[in-house]
Homo-oligomer: 223 residues x 2
Amino acid sequence: MTETITQSIQDYLKHIYELNENGGSASTNDIAARLNIAPASVTGMLQKLSNAKPPLVIYKKHQGVTLTKNGEKAALEVIRHHRLLESFLVNTLGYSWDEVHLEADKLEHVISEDFEARMAEALGHPTRDPHGELIPTADLTMPLDKSRPLASLRTDETATVKRVSDDDPALLRHLHEIGVIPEVKVTVKNYSEFDGNITLQVAGRKSNVVLGTVITNQVFIEK
Amino acid sequence: MTETITQSIQDYLKHIYELNENGGSASTNDIAARLNIAPASVTGMLQKLSNAKPPLVIYKKHQGVTLTKNGEKAALEVIRHHRLLESFLVNTLGYSWDEVHLEADKLEHVISEDFEARMAEALGHPTRDPHGELIPTADLTMPLDKSRPLASLRTDETATVKRVSDDDPALLRHLHEIGVIPEVKVTVKNYSEFDGNITLQVAGRKSNVVLGTVITNQVFIEK
DNA sequence: AAAGTATTTTAGTCTTGCCTAAATTTTTTG
DNA sequence: CAAAAAATTTAGGCAAGACTAAAATACTTT
């Protein structure tokens, strides 16, 4: 009997997926921090998920956790929902890109496959959401992301903004204000060895902006 | 400390509201049937809701249950969500009127007040959903419904279809096929004393249709 | 009005998903 | 490399919201 994938489980899988994207396996503590629950609760759930049939995660005590193929499919399903929803809300209901995240976090667990398909259709099967994050395909494959942090650019290099971290609405509003949004061309006019500050020229803007590493590590570009 | 209104509670309140609309107080059994749960479970929840502070229902053992003002507001909130969602899904994603119900049942508990407001705005503040059901106003008042069953019309009477019961998708598809949809003018060409059948002329249609009471009691008109 | 039937409530369980406190393991550091 | 610190797991609990079986109440019918 296949395990029922509850809302709570979807949230675990989604966050484990994202943690796996960066470093290898996701730690109990990191998961707990992201889900805002106690680490002890996470341990319990991980045990459950790894004993599910079929297992959704691979879990060895004290060594963090990785998704199985099944777990990954379930995670990508949720992520696809989330990112399509963000696009849809921006497009159809005039949400701004700093407002969509919370709403999508709730809706992603609830919409039907039909709803998902209709959104994709209505939006013309987009490949990125409003923050530039790649949308898993309908057959649940995650496209390869070739972007790297703006922080890695040096003086005189030019690139296109592809993606922006979406979890801080205030940062999103600020980036929008200075024109740093997906598909915009930017040129590094200066890189400071000391503090990592980058002086950036943004296409279509008169004056340059100086961005610290806190920001330049949250903005991703492709050359 | 105000009671948290969970999804489950919202469902109870919504169905109690609808049962209250017809006969006076809602019985344990009727609620159980609508929610597809055991009557014993309903009793437990009713006790909880009537002991909440503030109470959401008025409940006397063995005598069914009624909503308090607070309970009614909460119910109307959910119903407003549901009906706006139905309109929105039909309008924006091309759902047909027999497909929206299930989707709206899940979404109604999850959307924010902001989402609700944006939908209302985008739809031009509609007063009825695709089935013609009245949408509670933004300040949570239910407009007065003056419609009555098509079954109550007699030969040579003419009226406008206002509303159609939305819980049977097959019936909805059939009604759509024969053109019996909100705001359409109809005329009774014949009423049969024996079986209650009504022969109906639908504006814009060539041939008349004969409808039994099962149908004519689910279609509501105004003269 | 008594008997039988239908409805409702009580009592006791179960599962999910979270919690805290304490124990254990792993990692870091002097 | 041992001691301290950090991370993780175990153990025991709790609340929500469902269930079943049995008891109690209310309604119907003769």
